[in-house]
Structures are given as C-alpha cells and as structure tokens.
C-alpha cells in the first residue's frame, strides 16, 4: 500500500515534466519496481478520453427506463383528454408523450398534436400559467408558427397542450438531406426569423429555439413548434434562478439561461445565431461569421437588439451590402428597454424610442433657419412632454410594484439623459429646471432613499438630491420669492435630503434640513390635507433625527405632532389611504419611542394600533409591497414588546410571522437594501427570543442568516452607518450565544468583530450617540 501511494505521488510530480525529465527521474529512483509502477500509471494517463465511455450516462438512461418499466407509459389509444380523443402515439420527448388526437365532440374536424406532460412536472403551476398566457399565445396567429390550440388537465391529472399538427422534419435534417445552396438556406432562416420577430412583437419569447423545434414541411415551409411552451413549463426568470434551467438543452441555451438570469427576446436572438451557424454546410466566414458572432454574444445587450435587426443583416449579406458592424448606443438602449419589459412598460419603451428621434430632430432643427424656429420649438415641447410622461406617469405606476427596480432605474436614467440634453439647450428656463430637479429627485429614489425600495446607494442619492435642490433654487432666482407650490415642493425635497443624511449617519446635518423643511410648512399654514401629510412626514423625520442624536423624549414629542397632523388629514379625507398610512407611521414611531423609554404596555398599544392600520390597508390592496413592509415592521416591534414583558411565546410567534413576510419580500427584490435590513432584523429578533428560551441551535441558525444579510447590506452600501451598526449588534448577540453554548473561542471571535465595527463607527460619526455608549461597554468587557 505504501509503495502504491508512493507511486501515485511520484506520478503526480512527473506528469508535469517532459518525457526526458521523467525518464531521468525514474532512472534516478534506483527502484525498478516502483519505476515500472509509475510507468504503468503514465501509460494509463495517455489513454484517450474516447476510449473511456461514460458508465454514468448509461446509468442515467436506466434510471429513466425504470420509469417506463413501472408502467408510466400507457396505451392510451381512444382515451379522451379534455376535448380531444387520442388516435395514435406520435413520439416521446423530454417533456412527455405526444399523441395524434382529434376533437372528441366532432364540433369541427381538427387534428392536433397532443402533448401530455410527464408526471412530476408541476401540474397546477403549469395550468395556471397556461390560463394566464392563453390570450397572448392565441394571438400568435402566424403561418410560420404552429399554434397552441388548447390546454388543460388530462383525467389522470397531467397537464396537456394541443398544438397545431405539423408534419415535417427538423430544419437541420431537411438541409442535410436536400442540400440547398447557401442563399436558399439563408432564405429559410429568414422565414424563421420573421416568425420569431412576429412573436416578439406580441410579447412572446420562445426560450427554447433549436432545430427540433424548427420544422420544415414537405412543401418546404418553415413551422416553429412550442412557442411560449418553455415559459408555461416554468422556466421563467424567477423559477430559473431557483431551480436552474432544468429543461433546457445546454447546447442551445444562451448564457443568461444557464446562469439563471432573465430571459428576453435576446435569448431567442442568440438561438437564431446558433441556428445560422448550424445551417451552413461549412464554417461561416466573413460577414456571416460576424453576424453569427454578434447574435451569440455573451451579454444579451451586445447582441442584435431584435430579431428584425438580425434579419436585416442577413438580408444585407444576401444583397451584397455591408452588414451593420455596430449598433449605436441609443438604439441599443431603446432596444434593450423594449425587450426587457412586458406590457406595463412597453408604452414607456415606445416613448423613449421616439424621444431618441425627437431629441436628435430638435437639435438639428433648432440650428436650421429662423423660419423653422417655431416648428423646432413645438418639437422641443413634444419631446419634453414625452420625457415627462415616461418619468412621472409610467414611473409612478411602478412605485409599489415589487420587482420593478431595474425598470425604474432604466426609465429614470434614460429620461434624465434626455432632460439633461434639453436643459443644456434651454439655458435657464425655470419650468424646465424644475422638471429637471424632479428628475433628479426620482433618480435619488431609485438610488437610495431611506424607506423606499432602492439600491441602497445613499451617496449617489445625496448627490442627486443636492443637485435637485440647487436646480430648484436656481429656478426661482429670477422670479424672486417662490410661489407656495414651489415652496412646498422644496420643503418635501428638504425632508428627503435630511433623511438621506440621517441614513448616512450625519444626524446633525439631517436635523438642520428637517427643521428647514418644517419652517417652510409653518410659514405656509394653513395647509391642505395633502400638505398636512407631508408635514407629518417631516415631523416623523425630525423625530428620527432627534432619536438618533439620543433625545428620545423630544423624538416622541415630534411623533405626537406627526400623529396629530396625520389624524387631521385623515379626518379631512377619511378615504385617503395615504392619510391612514401616515397615522400608522406615527403610531409605529410612538410605539418605538415608548419601547425605547421602557414603557412596554404603551408600546404594545401603539404598535397594535399601527398593525391594525396596516391590516386595514392590506385588505384594500394586498399586493402593495410597502404595506407588507409596514406590517412586517409592526409584527417585529410587537414581538420585541412581548419579549420585554416576558411573554416569549407571543413574541416568538410575531417574529416568526415577520420573518416569513420579510423573507418573501426579499425573495422578490434580493438586492433591495430595505428588504435585506428587515429580513436580517427579524432573524436577529427571533434569535434573541430563542436564545432566551434556551433554544440555542435555532438561535444560532437565525443569527448566521442575519449576519449574512447584514454583511450583504454593508457591501451594498458601505457609506451607510446604520448597516454597520446593526451588524455590530448581531455579532454581539452571537457572542452571547456562543458564550451560553460554552464555545469560548467562537464567542471571543464574534465579540472582536463587534468591537472592530463599533470602533470604526464611533470614529466615523461621533454624533451617533449609541455607538459611543456601546463602544464604551464593549471595551469595558474586553478588559
């Protein structure tokens, strides 16, 4: 055995050497038996891969065959499936069996290919998706696309689809047999592309284009099979990230599919590029190679922006014109935009696309003769209006749609680009400056406003907001004092600016901005209900600043002012969801303050009131992500209050409910800073209760998850002091847990992490009073 191991070690040393060196080393061994053993291993190393076979692949086939042996494939002739009667089996594929079938009720004569899916594919989900997509798929009425005729559940509970019957052979086989010339092959491909483009314009992506789905009939017509089916089978974006692209054919899958990233029309463009390569008898050269290369680029946005653009280039090749080498940045952006988003934002995509044209035209026209001036100005106004529609109307509609982050970011940054261009053209026109200020404010919302679903980039948000404030002030300068509406808008901006400052740990600066805002509101009194609400928000923000600076009783006073304002606004407009929500926010903060001051029974009252508000709001609009977030917060605070009162089971129940709700929200927006913070918080609080109950293992598991979430947060937004702060608290709790478990070294490791963080925090933001206190405690501990 030892000799064998020695031989193995020698082999590993020798394989990286040249033949001559190997021979010298073996000779130098002076152990001919060992040398011979190593020689044999080296000989084995030279056996080519092809000689090896793959026993595992065989085993995989047997496993699948067991499936058949156990009687899963039935003789189903004559059986009724939905409105269809099975006539004969056609074949068997990855997703199930395919039968020839006809209408059972004889309502009309139609034969279809009936696909009965395998058992185990998630039936209910598939049927639900089918019902959801049916209208869209039914619209795919194109001579080159085999239509989806029907779908439902077979009597044995398996989902089925009825598809237009196509007899033909896969396009690659057809080409191999008939050997058409290059031009004929490309014309055939163009037919495929036309059909794909048609589907894309109807918002359907194929997702699984490959030769076996591209048939050529006996009469030489192309027919695409299975359009939209891949999505019905659940290989959609969310699913793909979770389960991997399990039904894909790796050879035909685009990189984004393999990576579990969103599938778009660019995914089909990729497949078309592969198909082009496959259809040519020889390796593509010259322009065709370039076309195929561009269609199959790794990054979806660097491919052809659409199937039509791909087709254009193939046509150009056929017409002996130069192919498009590179797409302009603007076309790319618009193309990507339209591709990425479905119905809700397609309108915005079109708006932006026309903006591109509009801006270019405006510039050109503005420079033309004086006589053209009026027309150019009209054009200018049009562009501006479009930008505003994109920015305000469409963007607004996405405010509370979870998962819409990428859309919002793209929308805002694109519109901002156009407005910036216009502003450069327009000089100091106040109205335009105000629009631009609003655009910057919108950008800040996406970048990282506290309390908004955001990317957590508060540093960028701060820059955007300051730019917005500067623009607003520049806008009003020529006119002297601002109008009331402009004043109030500035007040709102100040509130936001303060909140970003607060989130970045600059408590005193935040307090200043919030006081400025409240002064504006005071001067503008009496306020309309909507402004009353905005003022209440400012009071809440001011309370938060005071709190952060360590003055909780003063904070509670500010929250009471907020509650009074919100209740007045609600009384003025009882149906207003915003007013109800603001009441909830004030109650929540009052609960927090009571808790901080140790008045737990009062905390239970306020948080209970806040939760009641959330439940009322949720009943009105169950999909509203913001309400669900608030509900999570209240549950979490109630949990804390119950724990403080020694009612641990009630506490744990609240925290568990909060974890579930918040993790669900995080799953929708995995990069959302607030969702991360919330999920971490509930994990942390659950852990604390579990720790008290002596359930150490469960507590440890929760803490590990909480730390992971918080570390993600800290990476996402390194400038934000709050994340470091909560992370420090979690490390401290973990240290306690390890201590309780008797794991001394783990405990001191965790406590060292906490200490390091606190030190950094205390030096970075000295007005964060709690840090100083915590630091003092930790340092005392370590001594």
């Amino acid at each position: 055995m030892n000799a064998e191991l020695r031989a193995l070690q020698l082999f590993e040393e020798l394989i990286e050497l040249s033949d001559r060196e190997r021979a010298a080393r073996l000779l130098a061994l002076g152990d001919s038996a060992l040398a011979a053993r190593v020689e044999r291993l080296l000989a084995a190393d030279r056996v080519p891969e092809s000689a090896l076979g793959d026993p595992l692949a065989a085993a995989a086939v047997w496993l699948a065959e067991d499936d058949r042996a156990s009687g899963l494939v039935l003789d189903r002739q004559g059986e009724r499936v939905g409105a269809w009667r099975i006539l004969a089996p056609i074949g068997r594929g990855g997703m199930g069996e395919v039968f020839l079938a006809e209408r059972a009720d004889g309502a009309f004569e139609r034969r279809v290919a009936l696909k009965v899916l395998k058992r185990g594919l998630d039936s209910e989900d598939i049927v639900a998706r089918f019902l959801g997509e049916r209208r869209i798929l039914a619209r795919l009425d194109h001579p080159r696309i085999a239509q989806l005729v029907d779908g439902g559940l077979a009597p044995d509970g398996r989902p089925f689809f009825a598809l237009e019957l196509v007899s033909g052979q896969p396009i690659t086989e057809w080409c191999a047999e008939r050997r058409p010339g290059l031009e004929a092959r490309l014309r055939l491909l163009l037919e495929v592309v036309t059909a794909v483009d048609f589907a894309h314009r109807n918002l359907v992506v194929h997702r699984d284009l490959k030769p076996s789905n591209v048939m050529v009939t006996a009469t030489g017509e192309v027919k695409l099979l299975d359009f939209g089916i891949a999505k019905l089978l659940g290989d959609d974006e969310e699913e793909a990230t979770r389960t991997g692209a399990r039904l894909l054919t790796p050879r035909w899958a685009a990189p984004e599919q393999l990576a579990g990233e969103p599938v778009t029309t660019a995914t089909d463009v990729h497949a078309l590029g592969l198909l082009l390569r496959e259809l040519l008898a020889e390796r593509p050269t010259g322009d065709l190679e370039r076309i195929s290369e561009k269609a199959t680029r790794r990054e979806p946005e660097r491919r052809y922006p659409s199937a039509a653009a791909f087709a254009d280039d193939v046509e150009r090749f056929l017409a002996h014109r130069p192919v498009a080498a590179r797409e302009g940045a603007l076309t790319y952006r618009a193309g990507k935009f339209v591709r990425r988003h479905r119905a809700a934002v397609v309108a915005a995509g079109l708006i932006l696309a026309s903006l591109a044209v509009g801006v270019a035209a405006t510039w050109r026209q503005a420079r033309i003769a004086e006589a053209e001036r009026a027309r150019a100005e009209r054009r200018f106004a049009d562009v501006r209006r479009l930008a505003n529609v994109a920015l305000f109307d469409v963007h607004r509609s996405l405010d509370n749609v979870a998962g819409a982050m990428a859309t919002r970011r793209l929308l805002v940054s694109t519109a901002l680009t156009y407005l910036d261009d216009l502003a450069r053209e327009a000089g100091d026109e106040p109205e335009l400056l105000v629009e631009l200020a609003t655009a910057y404010e919108r950008t800040a919302e996406v970048q990282g406003l506290p309390g908004w679903p955001s990317e957590g980039r508060t540093g960028d948000a701060l820059v955007s907001l300051e730019r917005a404030l500067e623009l607003r002030r520049r806008a009003r300068r020529p006119a002297g004092a601002a109008e009331p509406a402009a004043q109030l808008a500035e007040a709102r901006l100040l509130v936001r600016l303060g909140s970003v400052l607060a989130a970045r740990g600059a408590g005193k600066a935040a307090l200043g901005r919030h006081r400025e805002a409240l002064a504006v509101y005071r001067a503008a009194a009496p306020l309309a209900p909507a402004e009353r609400l905005a003022e209440a928000q400012a009071f809440v923000a001011l309370g938060d600043d005071l709190w952060e600076l360590g003055d909780v009783p003063a904070a509670a006073g500010s929250y009471r002012d907020a509650l009074t304002g919100a209740q007045a606004a609600r009384a003025a407009d009882p149906g207003s969801a915003q007013a109800i929500r603001q009441v909830g926010v004030a109650e929540q903060r009052l609960g927090d303050a009571a808790a901080e001051l140790g008045d737990w029974p009062l905390a239970l009252v306020h948080h209970g009131a806040s939760l009641a508000v959330d439940r009322e709001l949720a009943a009105r609009d169950p999909a509203d992500a913001e309400i669900r977030r608030d509900t999570g917060t209240d549950l979490s605070r109630l949990g804390v209050a119950y724990a403080a009162l020694g009612r641990f089971q009630e506490a744990l129940a609240r925290h568990r409910e909060a974890v579930e709700l918040r993790e669900a929200l995080l799953a929708v927006e995995p990069e959302d800073a607030r969702a991360l913070e919330d999920a971490a918080e509930s994990r942390y609080e659950s852990a604390k209760v579990l720790l008290t109950l002596g359930r150490h293992t469960e507590a440890g598991a929760e803490l590990v998850v909480a730390i992971e979430r918080q570390q993600r947060l800290a990476t996402l937004d390194p400038g934000n002091a709050r994340w470091q702060h909560v992370l420090a608290a979690t490390w401290t709790t973990l240290a306690e847990l390890e201590q309780a478990r008797g794991a001394r070294s783990a405990a001191s490791r965790a406590s060292a992490e906490a200490l390091a963080l606190r030190r950094r925090l205390a030096s970075a933001s000295p007005d964060f009073a709690e840090n100083l206190a915590a630091l003092a405690l930790l340092e005392a501990d370590q001594r």
Partner: protein, 199 residues
C-alpha cells in the same frame, strides 16, 4: 408540494448542522433522506434530459440541492456536507440500478429496449458501472481524498472550479489529482495498454 420541500429543507439543514456538531448517527439520516429524494426525482429529471446531448446523473444532485436549500442560507460547511453526502447517495443509487439491471439480465427479465432513438449511443453495461464502482472503492481505499474528489466530480457533478472553492485545494494541484485518479481508474478498469487487471 412546495411546503413539503420546505419542510425537507429545514430537516436537511438541521441534520447537516448535526453532522457539523459531530454526531455520527446524524450522518446516516441525511444520507437516507437524500437517497430517497434523489431517487424520487430521477424519473422526472433524467427523462427530461434524455433528449439532450449531455446526459448526466449529476443534474439530480444540483436540482435536489437547489430544492432543499431553497431560500435559506447554507453555510459553506453545510454545502460541503450536503454535496459530499449527496455524491455518495447518488453513487449508491447508480450502483443499485446497475445491480438490478445486471440481475434482470441474468434472470432473463426485462430486455433493454432503446428509446425513441434520440438518446446518445451508450456502450456501457451494468457490469461496467459496477466495475467502475469497485475501481472507485479501491482508489478511495488507497487515497481517501482522491476518492471523495472523484465522487464530487462524477456524482455531484461539480466543476473543477466548484470543487476548488469547496475544498480550498489549488487549481493546479486539483488538476494533478484528477489526472492521478483517472490514471488509476483507467488502469483498474483494464483500459490501459498492456494491463489485464480490473474486470
């Protein structure tokens, strides 16, 4: 179904943590659980992959991993435990299937009927799979690390990169180790020139 998986995921996490805590008995339970899970999913998944050019048992392990880990966060230790136990379970499944096949043949049971003609050409027999398993067992007896590396590669389907990340073995060393494993297996299976051993 989703709920069940959720529960299984919790159970697996708990068991994996127990493995971490050093309970020997805990090691068998996740094995059984994973064996059942992998076996149960084999029908659906492998059939779905039959049409495809690359066919492997390892899809299963990945699938089960994703299903069971769900949204929860497994530590690197959890992941390593999971994957090595799954690899072992997968190996056991493959061997069990091969044994059953081999018995069928000897007893004149089910004939192996080719599928629709779309599956790749396979030269392997159940005996070859069993020989592979025996060769792997010998290799593991000689060098346990090599044995588990091969299991991770072939039965859990991890790429070199993933194995490097999981084990911390540098890439170059890893490549050398796999070449050594391959040479030993080739020899043991009697595929090397001038050797007769193995089967």
């Amino acid at each position: 179904m989703a709920e069940r998986e959720h529960a299984d995921g919790d159970e697996v996490t708990r068991l994996l943590r127990a493995v971490d805590a050093g309970s020997k008995q805990a090691l068998d339970t996740p094995f059984d659980l994973l064996y059942g899970k992998l076996r149960g999913m084999s029908h659906r998944l492998l059939s779905a992959h039959l049409r495809h050019e690359t066919l492997s048992t390892t899809v299963l392990v990945h699938e089960v991993y994703l299903k069971l880990s769900g949204h929860r966060d497994w530590s690197t230790r959890d992941r390593e435990h999971f994957l090595s136990i799954s690899a072992r379970a997968m190996r056991q499944i493959v061997v069990d299937v091969a044994r059953a096949r081999s018995a069928d043949k000897r007893g004149g049971g089910l004939a192996v009927v080719p599928l629709s003609g779309q599956e790749p050409e396979l030269g392997s027999s159940p005996e070859e799979v069993l020989a592979f398993d025996r060769a792997l067992a010998k290799l593991a007896a000689l060098d346990p690390q090599l044995g588990s590396l091969v299991e991770l590669r072939f039965f859990a389907g991890l790429s070199l990169d993933e194995i490097r990340e999981l084990t911390g073995i540098p890439e170059r060393t890893l490549k050398r180790r796999f070449r050594a494993a391959r040479a030993l297996l080739v020899e043991e299976l009697g595929l090397a020139p001038g050797t007769g051993g193995g089967r």
